[in-house]
Symmetry: C2
Subunit: 243 residues, 2 copies
């Protein structure tokens, strides 16, 4: 018998696939802000899904602030300032359609604002469990050796643990966002980076947190960030990574 796998990647829940396609189309600008999308039924037959699935997908896009839907006047694309750009899906779509360059810059602008503060707060508020988690991630970075995947994984875990250690819920989703975004970027351009220096700098951050020295932690985070940013810039400019 002919399996259904033949069409498309599958295995994802279908309203997610649908939402993906619609979201990409919107981010790509196929439907400009203010425009109305085709009516539900047209969309259904265009993508070959049921109306319920389409409605669930639309529900999701509404939650992300991309569109607004009212009876009779259709579902319209909202102006971008209403979009939830911190949503990981929105971010992913954005990365797929627009040039990465400016997004790296903007993301580091935000990270530059939040991460030194988060690190300082973590140095102030971190519990011993937090300390253990951060230290474990650091050790994993060291132990990763030449394995790029492991290293990146541990690196992301390190920073995410710091955001968690703030014990401030508002910082958590931001750490989550960076984790996803950076992973996506590494997927695009696998980054060797200056591993020895990175480890030293992460160690400085770790020590400041363990010793509960907020100011030192903030400073360490700042230097780490500055170097990370210039690393990525160098890579984007096509310079060969030097180890």
């Amino acid at each position: 018998m002919v399996s259904l796998e033949s069409l498309g990647n599958q295995s994802l829940k279908i309203h997610l696939r649908v939402a993906d396609q619609l979201g990409l189309a919107i981010l790509r600008g196929e439907y400009a802000p203010g425009d109305a999308l085709p009516p539900e039924i047209r969309l259904c037959e265009m993508l070959g899904v049921s109306r319920t699935a389409m409605r669930e997908a639309i529900r999701g896009l509404i939650a992300k602030g991309l569109i607004d839907s009212r009876p009779k006047l259709g579902t319209r694309v909202r102006p971008p300032e209403y979009w939830n750009h911190l949503d990981v899906d929105v971010l992913r779509w954005q990365l797929e359609v627009s040039d990465t360059e400016s997004y790296v810059r903007k993301m580091f602008q935000l990270r530059h604002a939040t991460e030194p503060a988060a690190t300082a707060i973590a140095a102030e508020n971190g519990t011993s469990e937090d300390h253990q988690r951060i230290e474990a991630a650091f050790n994993a970075m060291v132990a990763a050796g030449s394995d790029n995947g492991l290293f990146v994984e541990a690196d992301l875990a390190f920073h995410k643990s710091i955001y968690l250690a703030t014990h401030n819920e508002f910082f958590w989703p931001i750490g989550q966002l960076f984790s996803v975004a950076l992973k996506e970027m590494f997927r695009i351009a696998a980054l060797g980076s200056h591993r020895p220096r990175a480890i030293i700098e992460h160690g400085d951050v770790l020590r400041a947190i363990l010793e509960r020295k907020p100011d030192m932690a903030r400073a360490a985070a700042l230097t780490l960030l500055g170097n990370a940013a210039s690393d990525i810039r160098r890579i984007r400019e096509g310079a060969p990574e030097q180890r």
Copy 2:
């Protein structure tokens, strides 16, 4: 005939009402992280809605990271570190169930991290349209006179415009969040504050942005924030506002 209006506020789309109830219940801790909520059908009859509506509500809560749903083991509450605390609904629920005190503090921690940076970036990148919008909000603050509602509205518009003027999409949702959160707080404890001083400080921020002086803008935002935080602290402590 008996109108349906009798039960509840109404006029909101029903899956939103349902999501509201479920979200509140989760935030209230009625369903602890790891717990499974009742099966869909039970929930449907408990709240008196159709399965589709319930599914749409659940879809929304999944998008906010509150729950996760898998066949057979039910829909379970995820650990709070996965919740999207930057989502305005999550924030609203949190404010309704937990004490405001610590949330004001945490929110100002974040604001302290982002707003000086955003203001500096706005001073660097703001276009003339941005300048007009910010200035208009400032004028509205001045013109508000003794009308508290107008003043708060203009105040929020002022800060939101600054976040928009960064031309960095990642800052936009954060500005949006503060706008919603502070409005909610003012709703709870109407804040007269030091209006004359506030206007002067906002004027300093405005001038720095118009003159494109990032460092001055950052500094002005910092002093403004420091005073705003202590104002709110004083109010929370029950001290009478002095004008």
